[in-house]
């Protein structure tokens, strides 16, 4: 430490010491001065004075003793600390004395701070805390979109050959990896279980910069076909299936009937790729529990067209996403020419991993933060109004202090200390509330917000709470403090010290109430729009029955040819059909709302077909539509007669008819799917009602149902199907029957994705339910706060105007006239607040467009309902003060004055 620092430190230490030892050092000071006096007296006596003379001469030579003591005290630099202690003591006394004021203010602010803190802890977990990979901000996806198909760019992972060339030619990336998603039937412990898996190359873990917690990752030897029956497993799988044994390395897993040797276990938080990581990933994979080598053969590596994987790359230090994009554009423009001339158009799209995982939830997080910000502002408005009312009540005290010479800065400091104390108390309560809010929030977890369960009240959240508290105390404390300490001494003394000057304070208070109402209008309008959207979503006709039970069975590699698969599903349907109580059983390859999709190229006879025209294709069995209670509107259903080898048939949905058969009947028309222009024709035999497929909120798109038995399953791709059962049995009984039936045919196959259709509907509306619930709760809270504010303001105003009202009553005004007087005051506030609020809402609700469904941002009904609701609650808030005003006894009122 250098000299200056040392001095500063010692000075600070002395300051604190002399502050704490204030009394002791005062004693020392007086002892020191006493010694001086006595020594001077002795000296005077020695020079020949009498003892009395000596003493008074000594005293005279000393000068002003109290001033000297005071100056010594100030010289020690502890005055401001003393002031602070005084302010704190005084503030504490005031808080205890005005107990109800303190409780209301603290609770109001605590609600605001608690809501903000809880939502921030969510934002912290979801947006701020880092992903469990090394330097996640440098990780990007590399897609190779092709506009020919008119599909989102994130559908297109690079083909194997494109990936190999990209890896060779690009200089932007320090590591790249290609992986594909799949699922396996994991057999063991007498039952089969479905696990999400990824087939990865040797660079997978190196690119993500994660290491196994046990064992090793893959290297190039594991990629050699023949050596590739090794697996890295997740921490969760290790614990649940392998019992967390320490000697897990070297043990074997049976995946789809093949044995894999476990060579590594990943750390607990690692389950990449998870469902939310890839917008168009495998819908069956919730989290990944098994990683195996992709072990591509040289032929596969040279395949330029087929693509069923995704590429992740790590940017070199200093390389931006934009630079990587530019480089990839150039490389792809060359690689494009190597593709089949019919499908050229391949480009590049580089997207940060973080954006991919969080892109959808980011607006929601901002919406929530904005909402609680509004709640906090309204709470601050309330607290400020309460403080202003109290400042008016204290104007006498402050006036007296100002008259006695207190400087304004001193009074201001005291007022701000008090508001800081209030908000500190509110913070303590608020953090407690935040903890409660957070627990309630986590119960509402819609399940599709990444890492929401990790939300905690941690150090960063506490720091945020402290920051919000400081901000709050300035927001609600500054205005009242400035207003209260603006004391006109002449006016104060003229009014014989009885009343403060209340004129401009009233304007400030009314301004605050108007601002609160305006904020509330914006909040309520937004919430109204979201509620309307939610109601719209819930009233969407799904096109299927809510009680149908569904489950998926994924084939293992033993079911290599279509015949074996058909045989399996044929006997499964037979077994379930024979169960008493079952009304209909059907099989489909892709279920609505299940996040997976099969697209086939489409050629419609007599229609101006475009190149690469795609259609959603389903393979269904005879009773599928009946099991789902999806009505046929025309023609006949797919039947068991439509077996392989018989005439190809198709059922289309209404959206298909609308688009492709706009003029004329659909039945009997011919279409070709999947085989381009050379394949066989299928005849349309029926039209089914539209079904909401990808989500409830997306309009139905054209779909083709074909006979499950006639679809030529692609060997590498189509590996399973859903069974749908409509019955009079309870859900769990049906599930047990399905499991038993599958086990009876092949015990190595797992039954997974078990849902009733209503559960699927509930899970796809969960996000909307979550945001709508939160916004509604916050808006109602804000409304209560604002109405408490209006009530408090009017109640105070009635007290202030007691004299005036007494005179009015004495002069013959009716009681209803008085009620009208107070109501008018309240409704004027409301009117001004409404005008400002609605104007603001017109602008703000545009920001909400992305959250709305079936409601325009300027929905007239919402914009009409909000003012009506506010009118009702404002009148309710005005009633008590109005009746209290009407009940004033003129005689008492005049005496009061």
């Amino acid at each position: 430490m250098n000299g200056v620092d040392m001095r500063l430190f010692q000075s600070l230490r002395r300051r604190l010491l002399s502050f704490w030892e204030n009394d002791a050092s005062n004693v020392q000071l007086s002892e020191e001065l006493q010694f001086h006096l006595e020594r001077q007296t002795e000296a005077n006596i020695a020079s020949g004075m009498s003892p009395e003379e000596a003493r008074s001469a000594a005293k005279a030579s000393f000068g002003n003793l109290p001033t000297a003591i005071e100056e010594c005290y100030e010289a020690r630099g502890v005055a401001w600390l003393g002031d602070l202690a005084q302010d704190l003591r005084y503030g504490l006394r005031a808080m205890v004395k005005y107990r109800s004021f303190t409780v209301v203010t603290v609770f109001t602010l605590a609600l605001g701070i608690g809501a903000c803190t809880a939502i921030f802890s969510l934002v912290n977990a979801v947006l701020i805390q880092s992903l469990p990979y090394g330097e996640p901000d440098r990780l990007v996806y590399a897609f190779t979109p092709n506009p020919l198909w008119n599909l989102p760019a994130e559908v297109f992972g690079p083909s194997n050959a494109d990936f190999v060339d990209l890896k060779k030619q690009s200089k932007s990336f320090s590591a790249t990896t290609l992986f594909a998603q799949t699922t396996y039937n994991l057999a063991g412990n007498g039952r089969a279980e479905r696990v999400g898996a990824a087939k990865v190359d040797a660079d997978f873990l190196r690119t993500l910069e994660v290491a196994p917690e046990l064992g090793r990752g893959f290297d190039h030897r594991d990629e050699q076909p023949g050596n590739d029956h090794v697996a890295v497993i997740s921490h969760a799988l290790w614990l649940t299936v392998l019992g967390g044994r320490a000697d897990v390395l070297g043990s074997t897993l049976s995946l789809d009937g093949f044995f894999y040797q476990v060579i590594g276990v990943m750390p607990e938080e690692f389950a990449y790729p998870q469902k939310r990581d890839l917008a168009y990933g495998n819908g069956h994979v919730e989290t990944t529990d098994v990683w195996v080598p992709s072990a591509l053969t040289p032929q596969q590596k040279a395949d330029r067209e087929a693509s069923n994987g995704f590429a992740v790359a790590r940017l070199r230090p200093g390389v931006t996403v934009r630079e990587a994009q530019a480089e990839m554009d150039t490389i792809m423009s060359h690689l494009n020419l190597l593709h089949n001339p019919d499908t050229r158009g391949w480009g590049a799209f580089v997207k940060p991993l973080r954006d991919s995982a969080l892109g959808q939830v980011r607006p929601l997080m901002w919406l929530l933060m904005g909402t609680v910000g509004f709640v906090l502002l309204i709470a601050c408005g309330n607290a400020a109004n309460l403080l202003l009312a109290r400042a008016a009540a204290r104007s006498h005290e402050l006036g007296v202090r100002a008259t006695l010479g207190a400087r304004r800065s001193r009074l201001l400091r005291q007022m701000l200390t008090e508001s800081l104390m209030l908000s500190a108390a509110a913070e303590t309560v608020g953090v407690g509330l935040a903890w409660l809010f957070l627990h309630a929030l986590l119960k509402l977890n819609p399940g599709d917000i990444p890492r929401m369960d990790d939300a905690r009240i941690d150090l960063r959240v506490m720091g945020f709470a402290v920051f919000v508290t400081m901000l709050t105390s300035v927001l609600f404390g500054m205005l009242p403090s400035l207003s209260a300490t603006r004391i006109n001494l002449v006016e104060f003394l003229k009014s014989s010290g009885m009343r403060g000057v209340a004129g401009d304070r009233k304007r400030v208070r009314h301004g605050l109430a108007v601002a609160q109402i305006a904020l509330l209008v914006v909040l309520l309008t937004g919430t109204g729009l979201l509620l309307r959207s939610y109601a719209n979503v819930l009233s969407v006709p799904t096109g299927f029955s809510a009680t149908t039970v569904t489950a998926s069975v994924q084939m293992s590699s033993q079911y290599g040819n279509a015949h074996k698969r058909r045989a399996f599903f044929g006997s499964l349907i037979e077994r379930i059909n024979s169960i008493p109580g079952v009304q209909a059983v059907g099989v489909v390859n892709e279920l609505p709302l299940s996040n997976s999709e099969t697209l086939a190229s489409l050629f419609v006879e007599g229609y101006p077909n475009t190149k690469q025209q795609l259609v959603e294709e389903r393979g269904i069995t005879q009773d599928y539509l009946s099991a789902m209670q999806t009505p046929l509107v025309q023609g006949r259903d797919i039947s068991d007669e439509d077996a392989a080898g018989n005439r190809l048939v198709a059922v289309v949905n209404q959206a298909f008819v609308k688009k492709y058969f706009a003029n004329g009947d659909a039945i009997g028309r011919r279409i070709r799917t999947g085989e381009g222009e050379s394949g066989p024709w299928a005849t349309v035999v029926g039209v089914a009602k539209d079904v909401r497929y990808m989500s409830l909120e997306a309009a139905p798109v054209p779909q083709v149902y074909r006979s499950f038995w006639q679809v030529e399953w692609n060997e590498s791709n189509i590996v399973g199907a859903y069974v749908a059962v409509r019955s009079s049995l309870p859900r769990d009984a049906v599930v047990a029957e399905i499991r038993a039936a599958v086990k009876g045919i092949d015990p190595s196959l797992a039954v997974a994705d078990v849902h009733t259709m209503s559960e699927l509907v509930s899970s796809v509306t969960a996000r909307r339910r979550f945001q709508t619930t939160l916004l509604t709760v916050f808006s109602v809270t804000a409304m209560l706060l604002a109405m408490v504010g209006v009530y408090g303001l009017l109640a105070y105003s009635v007290r202030q105007r007691t004299g005036e009202i007494g005179i009015r009553l004495a002069l013959g005004s009716s009681k209803s006239g008085v009620v009208r007087l107070i109501l008018r005051e309240g409704l004027t506030l409301l009117g001004v607040g409404l005008v400002i609020g609605l104007a603001a809402a017109l602008v703000c609700t545009r920001l909400l467009t992305g959250f709305l469904y079936g409601v325009p941002a300027l929905d007239p009904a919402t914009f009409a309902l909000v003012p009506m609701l506010l009118l009702a609650v404002t009148i309710a808030a005005c009633l008590i003060p109005s009746f209290r005003a009407a009940a004033i006894d003129p005689i008492n009122a005049l005496r009061h004055e």
Partner: protein, 109 residues
């Protein structure tokens, strides 16, 4: 009594530091010594002396400890710190500059 001169605050600080540079002293002795050394021309008012002492102590230029006085009483003795000695050096130089400058002006006009 001899005619004495009121002292400016800064000058009191300088004199206190100078007097304490020889040995540690209590407040009364400091006042006496200044009076004595200035041939009874400079008188330090006690109501200025003690605030000055406390200020200098607060700035860590002097430090204090309680000790036994010449008449066997408890008295607070002040002594110069290392920082105080450096400070004295600075103050002396600047005083020299000031007084020389004032002398030059007075002589010149």
């Amino acid at each position: 009594m001899t005619k004495s001169t009121e002292l400016l605050q800064g000058t009191v600080d300088l004199l206190i530091l100078k007097v304490l540079s020889l040995e540690q002293m209590h407040g009364w002795a400091i006042a006496q010594r200044i009076n004595q050394l200035s041939k009874e021309v400079l008188r330090v008012n006690q109501s200025a002396l003690y605030p000055a002492l406390h200020r200098l102590e607060h700035q860590a230029w002097i430090e204090a400890e309680w000790g036994e006085s010449e008449n066997n009483r408890r008295a607070k003795y002040y002594s110069l710190t290392k920082a105080g000695r450096a400070r004295l050096n600075e103050e002396e130089q600047s005083w020299d500059r000031l007084s020389t400058a004032v002398q030059v002006v007075l002589k010149a006009v």
